[in-house]
């Protein structure tokens, strides 16, 4: 109860919210032939995605929304929330991250934890464990629930650490230096605190293989975030020349590794054999990849251009577009889309949409979606497995 109260008050602390980031929502899209056999839900609104998630949450027994925030709001460290509050009115990215966490969590969008729980349930107890007396709630072992929480903690920790600013790149529009320094300080400490909680949680699982898996997932994630940082904000908007295969490697690190290894670890906790662990890994990996591609595609598929969102020049459709075109032509297109040194994103978007980048990104998204579904086939049919399938359908849906 106390946790609910705190969470209800948090948005007030964090100040007025702008339009929330809805990374996971699928919007009304042009109709393109769907992946697999979709069971007839034709709603086009965001409610559709939320429905998938809330169905899934019923299956695992409780809302997974508040996972990573739970430890941030414990009695001892309620001062983190207080410290973040001091950042209201500044431009430090931590504030945006915090708002995003709270806002998204109210709408059930902490997906990694949910997927780990679902796959735990879908796999069920292993033959080895069938006789053992582990406590299960809704068919999921408590250690697997812990693991789901740990996964969210690691994800959130790096989300927070992504929001550090380089002090020597600040401009006067960013506000006073000391605000940014303070924001950095709190961001580092909060992220470290989340990581420390994750490590403690891992230690409590008393399984060294799981610790190794998640620690290596963390290492992958750090490298992935590093690549993200390096790829953005270059001069003249020209990003590194990476082909789609490098993009896939880097995206696996930044988005796929955590979920894949976490799913595998969930299987290990239930003492499933290597084959089952591998299938869980594959599901996690491919689902995460298709989700990332879906998210990258949003700026190119929305019908409403009033959003006039910028997009990352190292996102999937752009990288594919460049690969088809060749580097020189791509650089030429970027230059043409620039006006007095500022990039006209709307113009560049049209240029990209006219090429093959968008359609091949959609194909790639579906490819990964299909691989995820394939991996699921080795699990026995169940509500949980259907929920996992529905998640794949939702992220590969572009209509």
């Amino acid at each position: 109860m106390r946790l609910q109260h705190l969470l209800l008050r948090l948005p007030g602390y964090l100040g007025a919210l702008g339009p929330p980031r809805r990374l996971w929502r699928s919007r009304s899209l042009n109709s393109i032939s769907p992946v697999g056999s979709w069971r007839g839900q034709s709603s086009r609104s965001p409610a559709h995605w939320n429905q998938v998630v809330s169905e899934a949450e019923k299956i695992v027994g409780y809302p997974t929304s508040f996972m990573s925030l739970r430890c941030l709001l414990s009695d001892e460290l309620s001062n983190i929330a207080m410290q973040v509050r001091k950042l209201v009115g500044t431009q430090h990215p931590l504030l945006t991250t915090a708002r995003g966490l709270v806002h998204e969590s109210r709408h059930n969008l902490q997906l990694r934890g949910l997927v780990v729980l679902l796959i735990s349930k879908a796999a069920g107890p292993s033959r080895v464990n069938a006789s053992q007396n582990y406590d299960t709630v809704s068919g999921i072992y408590s250690c697997q629930r812990s693991l789901a929480e740990i996964t969210e903690l690691i994800h959130t920790a790096l989300l927070v650490h992504r929001g550090i600013v380089n002090l020597n790149e600040l401009q006067s529009s960013d506000g006073p230096l000391k605000d940014m320094q303070f924001g950095n300080k709190i961001a580092i400490l909060s992220g470290d605190f989340l990581l420390a909680n994750a490590c403690n949680g891992l230690a409590l699982l008393q399984n060294t293989k799981v610790v190794e898996l998640l620690a290596s997932a963390l290492m992958d994630l750090v490298q992935g975030v590093y690549h993200e940082n390096s790829a953005s904000a270059k001069e003249n908007y020209i990003t590194d020349d990476i082909g789609i295969s490098t993009w896939k490697e880097q995206t696996f690190l930044s988005h796929g590794a955590l979920l894949a290894k976490s799913c595998q670890a969930a299987m290990e906790l239930a003492k499933h054999d290597a084959e089952v662990q591998d299938m869980a890994f594959q599901y996690g990996k491919h689902m995460a990849m298709s989700h990332k591609i879906n998210s990258d595609l949003q700026p190119f598929i929305k019908e409403k251009t009033s959003d006039c969102a910028t997009f990352h020049l190292n996102s999937a459709p752009v990288v594919l577009h460049q690969e088809f075109l060749g580097r020189d032509l791509w650089i030429k297109q970027i230059k043409e889309a620039q006006e007095k040194g500022r990039l006209d994103y709307a113009k560049l978007r049209e240029t990209i949409k006219a090429g093959k980048g968008v359609t091949s990104a959609i194909d790639l998204c579906r490819y990964h979606g299909n691989k995820a579904l394939e991996a699921l086939e080795s699990f026995p049919p169940s509500e949980a497995r259907s929920a996992l399938e529905n998640i794949v359908f939702a992220v590969t849906r572009f209509s």
């Binding site: 550090i164 600013v165 403690n200 190794e212 620690a215 963390l218 290492m219 750090v222 940082n229």
Partner: protein, 408 residues
Amino acid sequence: MASRWWRWRRGCSWRPAARNPGPGSRRHAGPPGPRAAPDPLAQMPCFSLVKSLTSAFPNVYTVSRFHHMTPAVCCCSKTQSGEKYTDPFKLGWRDLKGLYEDIRKELLISTTELKEMSEYYFDGKGKAFRPIIVVLMARACNIHHNNSRDMQASQRSIALIAEMIHTASLVHDDVIDDASSRRGKHTVNKIWGEKKAVLAGDLILSAASIALARIGNTTVISILTQVIEDLVRGEFLQLGSKENENERFAHYLEKTFKKTASLIANSCKAVSVLGCPDPMVHEIAYQYGKNVGIAFQLIDDVLDFTSCSDQMGKPTSADLKLGLATGPVLFACQQFPEMNAMIMRRFSLPGDVDRARQYVLQSDGVQQTTYLAQRYCHEAVREISKLRPSPERDALIQLSEIVLTRDK
């Protein structure tokens, strides 16, 4: 807890130029202040001191009578093993050859710049103080247990892991403190920027966790993950401050334990767990590490006042500039209550840092802190002396002296 300590301090007559001499005159071995609870054992001031201090931490060890009361440097490093007197660093380094190369192997990733940043402090120029303690403790415990001088690979791993966890926390601390130099060179954040520096710290931590998992011992994993939590909580403690003078000292000691001593204590405990099944030995190792760790930090805080920048490799008065009131300052504040206001505003006004520094150097803050460090070293030596004699055990005894007498 610390209130007893303060009242005893006020009672001591050998403290010069006291502003508030305290009720009545006191002999050196006199009882504590009038408000102290009646306690026959408190007749020995040093006893109550140690009792107050050691009761701050959960692992309370029954304190027996202290024999030494002099503030002089303790010299109880009598080698009992009959073997040749050796420098503890040399003895420890025999096992640590290739320490930094091995750490770099753990950081083997494909991303060049990130790798370079993570390896930056593993260049062989650090003191490697923690790994040395770890390997010496490992051998001392092994010998105690079954007279075997061999060290297990897993124990050596702990040495690497301890150094990696320590370095990861340094990298993050430097960003938090906006530090520009460490160990005589520029900090990671100054060269590559804050964003990448934070990621480098996370990378080192993840590598340490992988190495820890590979040892394959769940108890050891639990022991060392506690350190990671303590490090973060220690930083949080540093963010906050206490109004009450008495609470300040307890707060300072708790922060010192979490930020510095916890790593050493728990690494020692981890190697003892790997080497020996006896829980008493684990406790001895832990207590040694804890006491040496606290002493180490106290001396570090002293050196911030007494040393000069070149020797330290980092700028001095660093703590004051960060708004931190360490041991010497807290003691000095006893004599110069006008420091209270400065402490509470964390030395933020211009001129505060210099004034505070002057007060400290005029007071006996440095001597008091050094004396306190000696008490902790005494306790460490007392603990480690319970182990079977060996060159490594004696080296550990010697090491605690070196902690007191180092100048950087």
